[in-house]
Symmetry: C2
Subunit: 267 residues, 2 copies
């Protein structure tokens, strides 16, 4: 696990929804669409800015739509569909995106996603997805998570840092439910530039003693802060900038946020 | 569970560390200390502001220090101390603050806190706590979570809303580890004024369809955003304001964030 110590936060952070990103469709060149939205909003990226993009926007650009009619359920999917009350073809799609089943209950199928994290329904949007120009008689449609979110984040970082000249980070976010607690929170499924974890252990507390047990889930907290303004889905807040952090840009991965199955007392 | 639909976020949020709160000691009148810090910083609270205070600040004011030398371990604590490698008197204190043990492992004791949430070590600070003027030969000291964080938040809200005239919310935050994911995140253990959960289910998404599955853990995300600036413990950021939310002030509880044991597939 790579943990960055070179990170700091100003006494003031801003979380800004940048307007103007059009609805993203399969084939949209997302990095350049983001670049144009920033330019049209006359929003200049600065060193330390983190650009947060909801996974759904990235998935749409990558054309990660699947027509559920075309998905043939396996015997295992049929069995889990009975146990959960979900549609068998939806369950099949969830299993194809997963490496293991974590928990099942009525209406609930929690899995380990092929990217490593634990997520209900493998993070697949089964209710809201609709590609542009879906032919008559197709669907219902599902929208999978991005193929490789760290790589998608890195492509976006390359374009936006080249055009702005700024040392920036990228977070691709999703909303996750949680064991123990109700309500969803933003979480990072892809990062670039920004360290996913921030090691505060060397810092001293108010009384000059060294802090213990303080590795912060930096990228998850950035995603949570962005989710607060991404709230109004009707306004299409697909481009959010968190401003006021300070970090050394490096090569990082959202995989650093994932507890390995061997170290996980709950999964 | 009370869920608020009357909440919104501006296109821009600010997360501001207000300087000037002195080190809080047992007996400090925290609401008025916060009021003075805001006045000295010439920081005027506005409608919709949420004041976030780390639980440790509240605990110190409430004098929640315990001298571990004075804690007599029960047989159950001795047994769990052997299983976890923790000190038996620390385990005893954890058990006294808990209603059930969730998981144990070497160095790990996760419990259901008497306030309902799941937390490692019952949220007790076992490494860093030190009261002012601790007599020679006492300690090591532990610092328990606040006695009743919702009530503490409500007292603070009363004082700060009276002096400012603003409709504000209060969050008492802690940093929690998580199953599945590494790194700590801010979470709300006490709220006042602000709804802990935000029901977005009635809102429409970009394409005019009603959003599903979108009850957001508003107070936890506010705590996470605040934790990003609370980072530098050495600077004593005990008073953070999240500005840009819009909510109808009401009677709320952080208990709304807790998944009941019956509904929890993991606890």
């Amino acid at each position: 696990v790579t943990v960055a110590a070179q990170c700091a936060a100003a006494a003031k952070l801003e979380v800004i929804a940048v307007p103007g990103l059009p609805v993203v469709e399969a084939g949209t060149d997302l990095p350049h669409a983001l670049e144009r939205a920033l330019a049209e909003a006359q929003f200049e990226l600065r060193d330390g800015d983190v650009v947060v993009i909801p996974s759904k926007v990235v998935s749409r650009a990558e054309g990660r739509f699947v027509d559920l009619q075309t998905v043939e359920p396996s015997p295992r999917a049929v069995e889990l569909a009975l146990a959960t009350g979900k549609e068998a073809n939806a369950v099949e799609l969830i299993l194809r995106e997963s490496t293991a089943v974590s928990r099942t209950a009525r209406g609930v199928l929690v899995v380990r996603h092929r990217l490593g994290f634990i997520a209900a329904n493998a993070g697949i949007d089964l209710s809201n997805a609709l590609p542009a120009h879906a032919p008559e008689g197709t669907g219902p449609w599902a929208l999978l998570l991005p193929e490789a979110p760290d790589a998608s984040a890195e492509r976006i970082r390359g374009v936006l840092s080249a055009s702005s000249g700024a040392a920036i980070g990228i977070v691709i976010s999703d909303s996750f439910g949680r064991p123990f607690r109700l309500g969803t929170v933003g979480a990072a499924i892809g990062v670039a530039g920004l360290p996913a974890l921030w090691d505060r252990r060397g810092e001293e507390d108010l009384f000059g003693r060294v802090l213990e047990h303080t590795i912060t889930a930096l990228a998850d907290q950035v995603a949570a802060a962005a989710d607060l303004v991404a709230g109004q889905a009707a306004e299409g807040r697909g481009l959010i900038v968190v401003r006021g952090l300070s970090f050394r840009v490096g090569t990082h991965s959202a995989a650093a946020l994932i507890r390995s199955p061997e170290e996980d007392l709950y999964a």
